[in-house]
Structure formats: C-alpha cells, structure tokens
C-alpha cells in the first residue's frame, strides 16, 4: 500500500505483544478497506473483548464499537439493521466469537445479516493469560489444560458454513495477500461473510507450548496449513491435525 497509514490508523502504536499476528491482520484489514475505496464515514468496526477486539478499537480511524465479551455480532446486527448503509465489520477473537459468542455467530450466519465477521484465531485466550479456547488444538498446553487439551477444537469454517454463511475463508497471517483479498471479497459479499485469520500468539500459546522462538512458532503454524486440494489427499486423522486454508464458497 502506497497510501499513508495515517488515513486509516488513529494511534502511532498498538498494544500488541512482540510477535503477535494481529498487527499483520490489522494491516490486511486497512489495505482491504483502502483498496475497496470504502467511505470511512459509512464504515463501522465492531469488536468484543480480548486481544483481537483491540485491532479496530481504537486503532482504526472509523466508527468503532467495542462491546462486551462475546456480543460483538449481536451489537453489529442491531447497527446494520438500523442503518443498512453502514458497512459493518466485526473483528474479534476465537474465544469471543466461538465460545461465549458462538450462539450469536451461528444465528447471524443463519439470518444472513450483511456483516463481515473476521475472527483472529490465535488458538488460545491471550488477554486473560493463556487459558484453553474452543479452538485450542487437541493436546496443546494451556493455563487451564496443563496436561494438554482434552477436547477437539471447533472447525469455525464448517460451523459458519453449516449455519448458512454465504462466504467463508481461512488464511494465516503469513499469507497477507490472499488474506487481504479474502477480506475484500467478504466485505463485498451481499450477506453474511466470515474470514478466519490464523494469527499466532507467541506470548501465551508459544511460551506455554515450549516454542519460545517466534519464527519457529510461525513456521510451525504455517506447517499445519494445507490447501483444500492438498487436504483431499490426507486421511481423516491427518486432516484433523491440519488447518485447511482457502476460500469456501457455495457455487
């Protein structure tokens, strides 16, 4: 992006930890908005509680609504229905959207409310200190699963697709170009659209899982990402350990 970031960003620095993927996602978001030439006056970002909720609030220079834990999608539904001219983008974390807010997520997808929901998935509760999330991989260590997570993680793409999302995509922050393009397609989808950004958390997930080197954590994460084509060749057990990336659209 050649444009000055000052147009889109309100503060000179963020509160994210060193190595956090959320800054890359924030960059992809504002690039998507810029490339779509969105009118900032008609742009509303809604977020919940957690690290990812701080991506738009207060960083992005537009209307921002920083809500309660889990409720971002429900607040966004009210704002969008009350003023359909607004472009409404929800940005929040996996714990916020898929655990405490899971019911709001699936019902918004079912209603096909024209929202773009961006889930920054770091596979853990970062802000509260590294507890297990509904997306934490099986066996991963956390503050509340010191012996390893006993339960399967949600496949959020399958969840929202099952609930009726028009558009869904999953990309890691290590692939910012396809991620940005996915955000642009989501924002221009005339209905409910969902983008999951895999965004590593060195401070909580990396440290607790003995991956102290940030680049190693990113490599490890990138290694679990496989394309839809590659995933077809895998056994169900192998696929369960992977994150299938790409766009998931009903033709």
């Amino acid at each position: 992006m050649t444009r000055a970031m000052e147009h889109w960003l309100r503060v000179p620095h963020t509160a994210f930890c060193p190595g956090c993927g959320h800054g890359i996602l924030m960059g992809a978001l504002v690039r998507a908005c810029d490339e779509l030439a969105l009118d900032r006056r008609q742009l509303l970002f809604v977020s919940g509680i957690g690290c990812a909720a701080w991506i738009p609030s207060p960083n992005i220079r537009a209307d921002t609504l920083h809500t309660l834990h889990g409720r971002a999608v429900a607040y966004a539904t009210g704002a969008k229905l009350a003023n359909p001219k607004l472009t409404v983008i929800v940005v929040s974390g996996d714990g916020d959207l898929a655990s405490i807010g899971g019911n709001h997520l699936i019902h918004a997808a079912r209603r096909d409310v024209p929202l773009t929901v961006v889930c920054a998935n770091n596979e853990i509760y970062g802000m509260t200190g590294g507890q297990t999330a509904p997306t934490t991989p099986l066996g991963a260590l956390s503050a509340t699963d010191p012996l390893g997570n006993r339960y399967r993680p949600f496949d959020l793409i399958a969840l929202v697709k099952g609930a009726g999302a028009r558009y869904a995509a999953r990309w890691p922050v290590t692939q910012p170009r396809p991620l940005t393009d996915a955000l642009k397609r989501a924002i221009t989808t005339p209905g409910f659209a969902f983008v999951e950004a895999i965004s590593p958390c060195p401070t909580q997930f990396g440290r607790r899982n003995r991956v102290d080197d940030v680049t190693k954590l990113y490599d490890q994460m990138a290694g679990t990402c496989v394309t839809r084509e590659a995933a077809r060749a895998l056994s169900p057990a192998e696929r369960a350990r992977c994150l299938v990336i790409g766009e998931f659209i009903d033709e």
Binding site: T67, L68, G78, L81, N103, H104, R111
Partner: protein, 387 residues
C-alpha cells in the same frame, strides 16, 4: 381507570383527540413506542410481555422501522444498543428471566450512555417462577443488577393509559439523559384491558448530536454530552471499558474512571426533580399513608376509598417514578403522617427503600403468591396499624 375518566368523555388538550378504545396494556405499550418514533425493536419471546413484540413485529416495519427476533435476551439487548448508536430510537421488552440475561447490556448501556427503552412486564419470580402470574420482584434488580455504580431511570405504570404515556416518556427521558430507561410494568397492568386514548398531546425529545464536542464528557453541570451516531463522520470510539471524554480506553488510570462513574450517576441524580413523578391522593389530612406503585397502586386506591368511607384518615402516595427514587417526596410524606404502609408484590423491595428516607414507622405488606394484592388485604393491614 381512576384518573383518566375525562379522556373517556371526550376531547382534552390541543387538537382533535382520538377516540378512546379498549386495549390490553401490552398493546398500549407498543402503541406508545410507535407514537414516540421507535425505529428499532429487538426481542425474544417471553410471557407475559410477548404481545408487545407481536404488535411491533407487524406495525414497526409498516412505519419504516426495523423488527428483529434475536436468539436470546442478551443478543436482543446488544442489538438495541447497536441500533441506538446507529441512530434509531430503540427498545426491547421482556420479563424477569430475560431481564436477568440483559443485565450485562444494561451496565454497558449505562456506561456508554446509550439511550434506549426496556419494558419489563414483571411476573412471579425468582427463576422461571410462574410465567403467567403477577409479581413485582424486579424492582431492585433494575436498580442494582448491573455491576458497578449506575443510576438507571425506571417508571411504573398503573393503568393501560400509563403504559402508553410512560413508554413515550421513557423514550424522551432516554434521549434527554442518554441512559437506559425502564418501564417497570407488571403482568397485572400488561394484561389488563381498559380504555385508553392514544393521544398526541406530547412533545418528543430529539437526540442532541454534534461532532465538535467530546461525546463522553461534559464539563457543564448538566452532565449530558451530545451523542453523534454512526455515519456522522465523528470516528466514534464507543467502548464499555473506562474511557476519556473522546472515547479513548483508559483501563489503568484512576482519574478518568472516577470522573466517568461519578458523572453518569450525577447526571441522573442532579435531575431527580425533573425525572421523579408521584401522584398523591387523600393526603391532606392523612394520618396513615400508603406508598404504592404499579398494579398495587390500584389496590391501594380502592382500599383508601373504602377506608375513607369508614372515616379512616388514610391517603396514598403513588410512585410513578421508582428510580431515581422520589426521596424528597417520600421524606416529606414521612414527616406529615404517623405511619406508612407499603403494599407490593414482593417481600418489601421498595418498602425497604422507603425506610431509608423516613423516620416514621413503615409497615410492609408483601405478597408473593402470584396474585395481585386485593384491596381488602390492604384495608385489614391499615386497620391493624392505625395509631
């Protein structure tokens, strides 16, 4: 009903008055919302309030508004807050179990100074209790249910006419003070059918917008900042975290938190005289007075009239506003009479508050059997405690 017989007989006030009609209280509440310019309703079905959402589901879209049935009460309240910031006069309605779920949103709306209206048609609690039966056990929950210090406004209708009038007033108070306002009805009034005039003898308070002043802080004594809406170009920062006057999060600083919490309480309490309405009957020479609200006010009035016919000097102070509490009016009454009796459909929620404001004896008459209090029960209580 007692006060509005003039309305039944014909025109009052300016302009042609609509014909009186017989409506259920919940329908009248919906009519009040439509008359006040409500543009958004989100809700979840719950007895005994559902008629409000059913009427609005049909009528609101016809006058350009938006109706949405959400997945639960938490989401309903969240959607109402979102819609209010998007510029709509927004409301929801519920009963006790739904109110419990909405508490987090009530705290958020108070702290972010979001105008909205919630009609709570109280039923017999706690828990699921008796869904179709009456109670008024939510009185303290709307006052103190949200964590932290907040100062909500709550009105209490005693008739179908007041269901209409108070919903309109609630929208006006919400916009005037940028705060959630409750219409604390009960099943008795919500499901009562009586004559109502859907008049237009009121002015509507318009939201004060404006991008040039901070939307979350006002140095003048009024304490109510202007409220830009999404799309005004204000680059709003609305947050339920502690924030400064422009909305920047201040999660570690002592002073902004202190300032904000004090202001959102002060802006209501400083205007208690404007907000609090009471209705006094037979008080001039009363030795004993009833303090009542909601449907129990009707029972109390019937009891007062029966006792007066028997020569007992008893009067009634009916609280049309419950929160902020009409402390001055109750304190003055406490000085003028020898004893107060508070009949209510809970175990003394308002009676306890009355005791904080008076030195005279306060007798509680709490009833929690899912039935309205009969006038005879109040008569017996008054006779028991006569000085």
């Amino acid at each position: 009903m007692p006060k509005d017989d003039s309305a039944v007989k014909g025109a009052q006030g300016a302009g042609p008055r609509p014909e009186p009609q017989v409506l259920m209280g919940n329908y009248a509440a919906a009519e009040g919302a439509l008359a006040a310019g409500c543009g958004f309703y989100a809700g979840y079905p719950i007895t005994p309030s559902s008629e409000i959402m059913e009427v609005l589901a049909e009528r609101l879209p016809r006058q350009g508004g938006v109706f949405v049935q959400m997945e639960d009460e938490i989401a309903s309240f969240a959607a109402v807050i979102g819609a209010s910031w998007a510029g709509a006069k927004a409301m929801t309605a519920t009963a006790g179990p739904g109110l419990s779920l909405m508490l987090e949103g009530i705290g958020y709306a108070s702290f972010t100074e979001t105008p909205l209206v919630l009609v709570d048609v109280q039923r017999a609690g706690p828990a699921t209790g008796q869904a179709t039966r009456v109670g008024s056990g939510d009185v303290l929950q709307v006052r103190y249910g949200a964590h932290g210090d907040t100062c909500p406004i709550a009105l209490s209708p005693w008739s179908v006419q007041e269901m209409y009038d108070q919903v309109i007033r609630a929208f006006n108070l919400a916009e005037r003070y940028r705060t959630p306002v409750f219409v604390l009805a009960d099943e008795g009034v919500g499901h009562l059918r009586e004559t109502v005039v859907l008049h237009r003898d009121f002015e509507l308070v318009a939201r004060v917008r404006g991008n040039d002043q901070p939307p979350f802080g006002h140095p003048d004594p009024d304490g109510v900042p202007p409220m830009p809406i999404f799309g005004d170009g204000a680059n709003l920062m609305v947050t339920g975290s502690t924030h400064d006057a422009w909305g920047f999060r201040k999660v570690d600083d002592a002073e902004p938190h202190d300032l904000l919490v004090r202001r959102i309480n002060r802006k209501i309490l400083d205007h208690a005289e404007d907000i609090c309405e009471v209705d006094g009957r037979f008080l001039d020479d009363a030795e004993v007075a009833l303090v009542a609200y909601g449907f129990s006010g009707r029972s109390a009035l019937a009891a007062v009239k029966a006792l007066r016919r028997a020569g007992v000097k008893v009067g009634l102070l009916r609280l049309k506003t419950l929160w902020p509490f009409p402390a001055r009016q109750v304190a003055e009454l406490g000085k003028a009479v020898r004893r107060l009796v508070v009949p209510e459909m809970n175990l003394g929620q308002v009676g306890g508050v009355v005791r904080q404001h008076v030195r005279c004896d306060v007798e509680l008459l709490g009833q929690v059997n899912g039935e309205v209090i009969e006038p005879e029960a109040i008569e017996r209580k008054v006779r028991e405690v006569l000085p």
